[in-house]
């Protein structure tokens, strides 16, 4: 599809301020015809939508929302690179979305794009709100003054979208005259040298590069050095000229708006301010926030359980079906026990990811999310975190994966990295089955002042997670170095009803990214783990199998399942993973674990809850592994063969729980950390440090209680 039509397809880049309705317009135009990829070298998602108008094919590039083309984050560098055709094809046209209620501010970005010389058009969105506020835009005047075609829209109500379609199909874009003279802010010779070196046709492009060069990670070092040296020679003060340019721009914009916009005073009630009296109240604000968080927590914890069970059962059924219908053999085993459960292990996270991002999209779309940042910033700062770290950390209580993905909103790279690194210490839902079994084994089921000790034990594990998350962040705050200063300068947008289409699209897209990118890593590690658990040194496995067949022939059918369980346990012991479990026994002995628990620790690397299933197999418990009570009863009876002491005594149980609280045992999380940081350094560091601390803490715990 890309070869034949790509030649005629036109590319339109769509850009605008945050909260201006840009994604609304993008979604209205393209619907589900979107592809999410990556810009080279940065973590910014590249969203491209496809639409066909009559004979015409258009690729619509959705650029990240930004207030200007100035360098502050990776997002803004992307806008600059795309619009200048650096490292990628330059789009044919630019569509700039303006906020009808905030024309002055949105024209700052709009006129910057004008000065780049790319054929463009303006979309003036939220005309309904502007009308209510008594803002009257004289469209023709504005067009005459700017020299750029403009379309008035109300994207939420789908008004004016057809006009945008028509504009694109007839290519009514124009290259306007620049608003500012770039030579006023940088020496003409300097600008011309930059233009020559980078083959720019436009002086503003050169000015932008002089301002941007330092921040653009993807720019070759030689170019950067050259720009630095030239700036020095010509005495070009980047920051100073940037401020001068902005001020000059605002002066021109003000004079344009004076001629083209009238304001009539209206008596409008301010809903936003009344709502903020509650949501930002020093007391009620936190109560409401806590309530909303509880609701989300409940959803990703409890409501997601139903679809997750369905997925679980579905994939188990599929494995069963494969066994029943395909000829027995290694390939069938690989498919039924390796690949299908591996894919299942990826798919099972989708309900939680989709739900979390659905809630986040609603909170963001309504304007509430910025209020959370406002309320929580002060509490997070002492720990080296940002107000925006709250959402990732709280969602980490359900699952670290969506939490880490949500950390993308944090613009300061150090604060974002700290958030990503500590989120896995929040007690996620995969730890819950492990805690439940171990607490059942080690904590007496008695009441203290009407509260069960076991419930207190579980609460203690959650608090331990929160405590170490914050301590970990505090430690990283002093370890990680950064030149970036942390700041908070954010708009609190007006409250609006959520756009359900946007919410659904976010849920769909985030799940897709997770499945396609993290899924690959998870699937491959699942297969490796399966191979390790199913195969052993040649001969040994086979002899166990033969022995089983022989024994089965002499036992009555009623006892077959018991025999099967016994041999499943023997096979696991003889497998490579069993050998590894025995090999690490000396290392985990001081923590109070034997080689059987060692095997469970190794398989838990697939996901923590696998502990339960592995323990059930290795102690040949069989039956319904979902039934945690049966497992618990049987485990309680397990004793060490040499000493006769209970295997799961208080010391071992507590030590195991502490180990599970701290260790990095989730490859899905590691895959997502890799995706979000674009480097294996951080996931490896996370594994080493978290597991190291887990070892130490489990060791101390065991020594105290034994």
């Amino acid at each position: 599809m890309e070869t034949a039509t790509a030649l005629q397809a036109k590319t339109v880049a769509i850009i605008g301020n945050p909260n201006v309705g840009k994604s609304s317009i993008f979604n209205q135009l393209t619907g589900l015809n979107q592809k999410i990829g990556n810009y080279p070298g940065v973590t910014v998602d590249k969203t491209v939508g496809f639409l066909r108008i009559g004979e015409k094919e258009i690729n619509l590039i959705d650029l990240p929302g930004t207030y200007s083309l100035y360098p502050k984050s990776e997002d803004e560098v992307i806008a600059h690179r795309v619009l200048n055709g650096l490292g990628q094809e330059k789009p044919d046209f630019a569509l700039v979305i303006l906020d009808a209620c905030n024309l002055e501010r949105s024209l700052l970005l709009g006129t910057q794009v004008m000065d780049l010389g790319i054929p463009m058009a303006f979309v003036v969105n939220m005309k309904d709100l502007a009308f209510k506020k008594g803002i009257q835009i004289k469209t023709f005047e504005l067009y005459k003054l700017l020299g750029v075609p403009l379309v008035l829209t109300d994207a939420r109500n789908n008004e004016g979208i057809d006009a945008i379609r028509q504009l694109m199909s007839t290519e009514k874009f124009e290259s306007p005259k620049p608003l500012l003279d770039s030579y006023a802010f940088a020496d003409k010779v300097l600008v011309e040298e930059v233009m020559a070196r980078f083959e720019f046709k436009n002086p503003y492009q050169a000015f932008q590069l002089l301002v941007f060069g330092e921040f653009d990670k993807t720019l070759p070092v030689a170019d950067k050095e050259w720009l630095k040296e030239k700036s020095r020679v010509f005495g070009f003060d980047r920051k100073r000229q940037q401020v001068r340019e902005t001020e000059a721009r605002y002066v021109k914009i003000a004079s344009i708006l004076k001629k083209s916009v009238d304001r009539v005073k209206t008596e409008s009630s301010n809903v936003t301010i009344s709502l903020d009296n509650v949501f930002l109240n020093p007391v009620f604000g936190f109560v409401v926030f806590l309530g909303i968080m509880l609701l989300i927590f409940q959803a990703i914890f409890a409501w997601a359980a139903f679809p997750m069970d369905l997925i679980d059962v579905g994939f188990a059924g599929l494995s069963g079906w494969i066994y029943a219908h395909l000829p027995p053999g290694v390939l069938t085993d690989l498919l039924a026990e390796g690949i299908v459960p591996g894919i299942g292990g990826v798919v099972i996270f989708i309900p939680q990811i989709a739900m979390l991002f659905g809630f986040l999209a609603i909170l963001e779309d309504t304007g509430y999310l910025s209020r959370v940042v406002f309320l929580m910033d002060r509490l997070m700062r002492p720990f080296g975190l940002h107000g925006k770290s709250v959402v990732p950390l709280i969602s980490g209580m359900a699952c670290a994966i969506p939490g880490i993905m949500a950390a993308r909103n944090i613009s300061n790279s150090k604060e974002r990295l700290i958030t990503i690194l500590v989120t896995p210490w929040m007690s996620c839902s995969a730890r819950l089955p492990v805690y439940i079994i171990l607490i059942g084994l080690t904590v007496p089921d008695t009441l203290w002042m009407g509260i069960s000790f076991q419930a207190l034990g579980l609460l203690a594990m959650y608090l331990l997670g929160v405590l170490f998350t914050l301590l970990g962040a505090l430690a990283l705050k002093f370890i990680l170095k950064t030149k970036e200063k942390s700041y908070l300068l954010t708009e609190l947008p007006i409250y609006r009803l959520p756009r359900w289409k946007t919410v659904l699209l976010t849920m769909f897209n985030k799940s897709k990214i997770f499945v396609l990118e993290a899924g690959k890593v998870i699937l491959s590690i699942s297969i490796v783990l399966w191979v390790l658990a199913s195969y052993g040194p040649s001969g040994k496995m086979q002899s166990i199998e033969e022995e089983k067949t022989a024994v089965l022939q002499t036992t009555p059918e009623a006892e077959w399942s018991a025999v099967e369980e016994m041999y499943a346990s023997k096979k696991l012991e003889a497998s490579f993973i069993g050998i590894m479990g025995k090999a690490i026994e000396p290392a985990i002995r001081p923590l109070g674990y034997d080689w059987k628990i060692g095997i469970a620790l190794l398989t838990s690397f697939a996901a923590r809850e696998v502990f339960v299933g592995t323990i059930a197999t290795i102690y040949s418990i069989g039956g319904d592994v979902e039934n945690e009570l049966t497992i618990r009863e049987k485990l309680a009876k397990e004793t060490h063969s040499d000493t006769g002491e209970k295997v799961f005594d208080k010391a071992t149980g507590f030590s195991l729980m502490v180990f599970y609280a701290f260790a990095m045992q989730c490859m899905s999380t590691l895959a997502v950390v890799y995706r979000e940081t674009k480097s294996w350094k951080w996931p490896i560091l996370q594994t080493v440090v978290m597991t190291g601390i887990a070892y130490l803490a489990a060791f101390i715990t065991y020594q105290i209680f034994s």
């Binding site: 905030n102 920051k239 940037q242 930002l280 020093p282 910033d377 002060r378 300068l489 609190l492």
Partner: protein, 72 residues
């Protein structure tokens, strides 16, 4: 006087923005000399402050608010 010293619901006119690494961020959010600024809310324990500028609400920390000089 700076914006950090405003009391709740008090308004003033912005005189200038103190020069710093982030002065450009103020400008692009529309925090410009000559505009009217009003303190709407303060988060507890010395947390961020919410200001109204031309019907937009902008949240800043105190360390940023002191960079906004006001006309007395």
């Amino acid at each position: 006087m700076t914006a950090a010293q405003l009391s709740l619901q008090q308004s003033a006119t912005i005189e200038s923005i103190r020069e710093s690494d982030i002065s450009i961020n103020f400008l692009e959010l529309g925090i410009l000399p000559g505009k009217e600024i009003k303190l709407l809310k303060k988060a507890p324990f010395g947390g961020p402050m919410a200001f109204e500028i031309e019907e937009n609400i902008i949240a800043l920390r105190q360390q940023e608010a002191i960079m906004i000089n006001l006309k007395s």
